[in-house]
């Protein structure tokens, strides 16, 4: 009963117990994510430090390409505030099916399972959270992180060969650490850029940040490399830049170059995606998917031998 003891002395004598059960619940949440991810062979994130470079387009087309290779594919639209994957895959209006085991994601083209915030919103509705918006800097980041955590933990993916996560733009600040912490055995990241110097500079920073966090960068996709004429099919440069040099400097493979193809893009805008792998642009995505697949197999083989 001596009040002269300082707090440090008092605490040294005490045994901490989590009677509010907060740590217990957070630990349970993490375990649930781990359990959900068990059935998924490879988890790949598609990221870029820059917005508007075509991350969603790349993710969607890689998913289609993997599916054409006979892989079982899931696609997680992590862009909470600007989810567009359902529209690109013609899945607007579909919804998650609640079951006692969790939420079952709807199936889109080529049996790709898709989870997206868009399924919880009404048409054209923005994402608006309850809570004091004047104090939103206090809690908004935490809310978004836990939304992503719920999308990982509460989704009944079943057995998948690939789960692709389409990260939001500017994902350097908070999402990669969260994903590293949440997704066990993250296979790696595909980084999307455009040949512009501005994009390259920003993308390099996000690559460095991801690598610091231990995320394996599988390679770089250069999007909007050229402009493909919708009439004659001829390809001409769209930007001046040098993604080759960036990849060489960073020691990363350039997985492929995708032209800006208006007709191709339009089909995704309309929700009628091109599924045919013979389409010239789809074929380029197919090549990238094969490279990623080989890369991950190669790593797998090495893992077994080392």
């Amino acid at each position: 009963m001596s009040q002269q003891n300082d707090l440090k002395t008092i605490l040294n004598k005490l045994h901490y117990s989590d009677d509010a059960k907060v740590v217990e619940q957070i630990s349970a949440q993490t375990k649930l994510v781990m359990a959900r991810m068990k059935g998924i062979r490879r988890k790949v994130v598609v990221m870029s430090g820059k917005g508007g470079v075509g991350k969603s387009m790349t993710t969607v087309n890689l998913a289609l390409a993997f599916a054409r290779m006979g892989q079982r594919v899931g696609l997680l639209d992590v862009d909470i505030n600007g989810p567009c994957v359902p529209q690109m895959l013609g899945m607007r209006g579909k919804g998650l099916l609640d079951t006692p085991e969790g939420a079952v994601p709807p199936t889109g083209p080529l049996n790709i399972k898709v989870a997206s915030m868009d399924f919880l919103l009404q048409e054209n509705a923005p994402v608006r959270w309850k809570g004091p918006m004047d104090l939103s800097p206090v809690w908004l980041g935490l809310t978004e992180m836990n939304v992503i955590r719920e999308f990982l933990s509460d989704m009944v993916w079943g057995e998948l060969d690939y789960l692709l996560a389409d990260l939001p733009p500017g994902a350097a600040a908070d999402k990669p650490p969260l994903l590293v912490g949440l997704i066990p055995d993250l296979a790696g990241a595909v980084v999307v850029t455009t040949p512009s110097e501005v994009a390259s500079n920003v993308v390099q920073k996000s690559i460095a940040y991801a690598q610091e966090l231990g995320i394996e960068i599988l390679g770089v996709v250069e999007n909007m490399s050229q402009y493909r004429c919708p009439s004659c099919g001829e390809e001409n440069p769209l930007f001046e830049g040098n993604t080759d040099s960036m990849c060489e400097a960073l020691g990363l493979p350039l997985l492929g170059r995708i032209p800006f193809d208006r007709n191709f893009a339009r089909t995704f805008d309309k929700g009628e995606p091109i599924l045919d792998g013979d389409n010239p642009t789809a074929a380029k995505y197919q090549d990238i998917a094969k490279k990623v697949h080989t890369l991950l197999d190669y790593q797998h083989v090495l893992d077994g031998k080392v």
Binding site: M1, K13, A20, V22, D98, L121, P230
Partner: protein
């Protein structure tokens, strides 16, 4: 978070959580030795932080439902989705006014065949027209083909559908949403021309404008009208009323004297 009873040199034990006010939590602790009790009261930001963790203080009595925090944390989609912009577009476009100031001012009604700049549905123009079209809410004339993920599918009569189809394609989704929200709130299962007209005079807050009040609102200059509408609706909502009459407008006049 733990509290220490300095007198007894022991951790206080978590007792319970109460909600003393909206956006606030009262978390009660008790010293197991001297039975002293106190309550920590959180401010709205702190309350939201706890909520954002997806946990329940003191533990759960039942397993969380799928996406419980996400779904529970979202504002009501109907009011959030429609918003002022949708209602504004609905009112303006249906009334035959341009949705936004075009490069060349147009005073009359939007022609039936009019399309927004850069939204041409055929190729051959600017190579970035598809991107521009996407910026215009991504609509490519999806008139009446998609339904909100939640809620019932509303029927559109052919003439209502035709009227919607005559609007510029890039505003159709928002106008459609606004009309359907109004229809659902009013209990309509079919969208008719009359429902479309009525929706122009109904706000997203479920507040109705009498024709006379609407006329007075229309007298307010374009650029200030949306703000005036919001303010007047807020005034009425604060009073717990649901209709804006000429009398209400008269009362609000002082506030907007220079515009009315």
């Amino acid at each position: 978070m733990k509290f220490v009873c300095l007198k007894c040199e022991t951790y206080m034990t978590f007792e319970k959580v109460e909600k003393p006010a909206e956006g606030s939590l009262g978390v009660f602790f008790e010293c197991p030795s001297c039975q002293s009790r106190f309550s920590m009261v959180t401010n709205p930001g702190e309350t939201q932080m706890v909520s954002s963790l997806g946990v329940q203080l003191g533990g759960r009595t039942e397993a969380p439902k799928p996406l419980e925090m996400t779904r529970g944390g979202l504002e009501d989609n109907v009011s959030a989705g429609m918003g002022q912009m949708a209602a504004y577009l609905n009112e303006k476009i249906q009334s035959g006014q341009p949705a936004a100031a075009p490069a060349t001012p147009v005073a009359s009604a939007v022609p039936a065949s009019a399309t927004a700049p850069g939204t041409s549905s055929e190729g051959g123009g600017c190579p970035f027209s598809a991107m521009v079209a996407q910026m215009g809410l991504g609509s490519t004339g999806a008139t009446g083909t998609s339904a909100p993920p939640a809620g019932t599918q509303l029927l559109w009569t052919p003439d209502a559908q035709e009227k919607l189809a005559k609007l510029p394609s890039f505003v159709q989704p928002m106008v459609k949403s606004s009309v359907e929200t109004f229809a659902r709130k009013s209990g309509f299962t079919t969208v008719t021309l009359q429902v479309m007209d009525d929706s122009k005079n109904a706000s997203t807050e479920g507040i109705k404008w009498t024709p006379e009040a609407q006329q007075r609102l229309d007298n307010i200059p374009d650029f200030i009208r949306p703000m005036a509408r919001r303010e007047i609706e807020r005034l009425v909502k604060e009073r717990g009323q649901s209709e804006i009459t000429a009398e209400v407008m008269e009362e609000a006049k002082e506030k907007f004297m220079k515009f009315m």
